[in-house]
């Protein structure tokens, strides 16, 4: 609804206000006349009409209104219902424009595309409400002043821009998934929102294979989500998780998506990550996992996306194929590289490898280093437990 209204107002704040007004009007009208057959379309029509009225009143302001749409695109008489999917897609691309900071992209997407209230977004990202409100205001000001377009990017720009959108959705899911600090109910909602967005993108951009890749990846994560912790909230390693509790339906859906996507052409980084996750999901146990194939996929992923985090994950697979010694050498190289300084999974991975090599004294030091870097209660408990087992 907001997306369709922005096309009329060309201004995000004005559109948000019009949508709120429409809800208020709905309360009284629906109470008197009953709920209309299509409440969504009714609300959108009222919001757009409302926005038009406000704009007519403020003609002098119009020159200052940001042009959030492509020239000639605004037709207020156009039926709102058919325009909605397209409008949502435009709105996603506006919110995830590379000219906005990653923090702003994710906050705007939650606020404007998913309709999450600002206090809830603030809570999910562990910042003060005023900070989040200021972040959103700043971003909306930039969209207006710099005229970030309200449009789906052109064909040659599309893949790079889709990558930004997918990165935002992935980050959104990861934030809900890992809960970096403390317990938080709002975070559960983030994973659901991220999945919805991934499904929407897959539907609206059928030609973008990476959109299918991301959806497959999130489906596999979601299938395993309930088993990541035990009933007391303690974190469980992949090897300890109850595989019989994984959601087979979601895994099967991810598999179908992956097969289709891999057939369509060379995979991107989200598709390769999904393939790795799917291999884990299909394995009857941790030890019976197809580690050599996972290592091959990590090599491919590292080629597509030369990130030190990928290299660290590859080291874990390497340990399963060639043993802990060569894996430890890789981790130590990464440590010297310095880009992962402060990344808590580096010392915890190193500790595990040292322990497997019988070098427990060094493993203790590495676990302690990992503990110092995590603020998450479940992860702290997990590390302390590993530490005391040495």
């Amino acid at each position: 609804m907001l997306a369709a209204t922005v096309r009329v107002t060309r201004d995000l704040d004005a559109a948000e206000e019009a949508v709120q007004d429409a809800y208020v009007q709905a309360l009284s009208t629906w109470a008197a006349d009953g709920v209309p057959a299509n409440p969504g379309a009714w609300l959108t029509t009222v919001a757009r009409r409302r926005a038009l009225n406000v704009m007519r009143r403020g003609r002098t302001l119009e020159a200052k209104l940001p042009l959030l749409l492509e020239p000639g695109g605004a037709d207020p008489d156009e039926p709102a219902a058919d325009a909605i999917p397209d409008d949502r897609l435009r709105l996603v691309f506006t919110c995830c424009h590379p000219a906005l900071s990653p923090e702003a992209q994710i906050a705007l997407t939650l606020r404007l595309v998913c309709g999450v209230a600002t206090p809830d977004i603030a809570q999910a990202f562990l910042v003060a409400e005023a900070t989040m409100a200021a972040r959103l205001t700043r971003a909306k000001k930039k969209i207006a002043a710099a005229r970030i377009p309200y449009a789906v990017p052109r064909g040659d720009e599309l893949p790079a821009r889709v990558d930004v959108v997918l990165t935002v959705i992935h980050l959104l899911y990861a934030t809900g998934h890992t809960a970096h600090s403390g317990e938080n109910l709002v975070r559960d909602e983030l994973t659901g929102r991220a999945l919805d967005l991934a499904r929407m993108l897959r539907l609206l951009l059928p030609g973008e294979r990476e959109a299918a890749g991301l959806l497959a990846l999130l489906l596999v994560h979601e299938a395993r989500r309930a088993t990541r912790t035990d009933p007391d909230g303690r974190l469980l390693r992949l090897a300890e998780q109850d595989r019989s509790a994984w959601d087979r339906e979601l895994i099967a859906e991810a598999d179908r998506l992956l097969v289709e996507t891999l057939r369509a052409g060379p995979p991107g980084r989200f598709t390769v990550q999904a393939a790795i996750a799917a291999l884990h999901a299909q394995a009857p146990s941790y030890d019976e996992t197809d580690w050599p194939q996972i290592l091959v996929l990590y090599d491919e992923l590292l080629r597509l996306w030369p990130s030190p985090v990928v290299a660290l994950n590859r080291a874990v697979a390497l340990a399963m194929v060639d043993g802990p010694a060569p894996a430890l050498a890789e981790v130590e190289t990464l440590e010297r590289d310095g880009r992962l300084a402060g990344y808590r999974y580096l010392p915890s991975t190193k500790a595990d490898l040292l322990h497997r090599l019988g070098r427990d004294a060094e493993a203790v030091a590495a676990y302690e280093a990992a503990l110092a870097l995590t603020g998450n209660a479940a992860e702290q408990e997990f590390l302390e437990q590993r530490l005391s087992a040495l």
Partner: protein, 113 residues
Amino acid sequence: MAQYAVMIFERVAPADLPPEVMQAHGNLPERIAEQGGRVVAGLALEPPETATAIRGDRVTDAPFIETKEVLGGIFVIEARDLDHALALAKLTPIVDGGVEVRPLLGFQVLEGG
């Protein structure tokens, strides 16, 4: 159409720019016009060694902000939106550095100036 400043930050001093880069700068208005934009104004700055900063009453021999990439020049373009402006700004020849694109709040050339 909206107006944007394209600020050129370059590590190579203007005097050391290769002739083909200078020529590309010369062709820029034409290439921008081909892509539906327009160059409204352009200014090239002497190197930072020639700059004088004034803070309050204090006058010093230096640019106001000292960075490795120095502001070498600015041109003002007209573009449909930020995506268009970014596409046009990418046409700027750069040897070692980059450009910053910023929307203009105002732009004025005074008559008889």
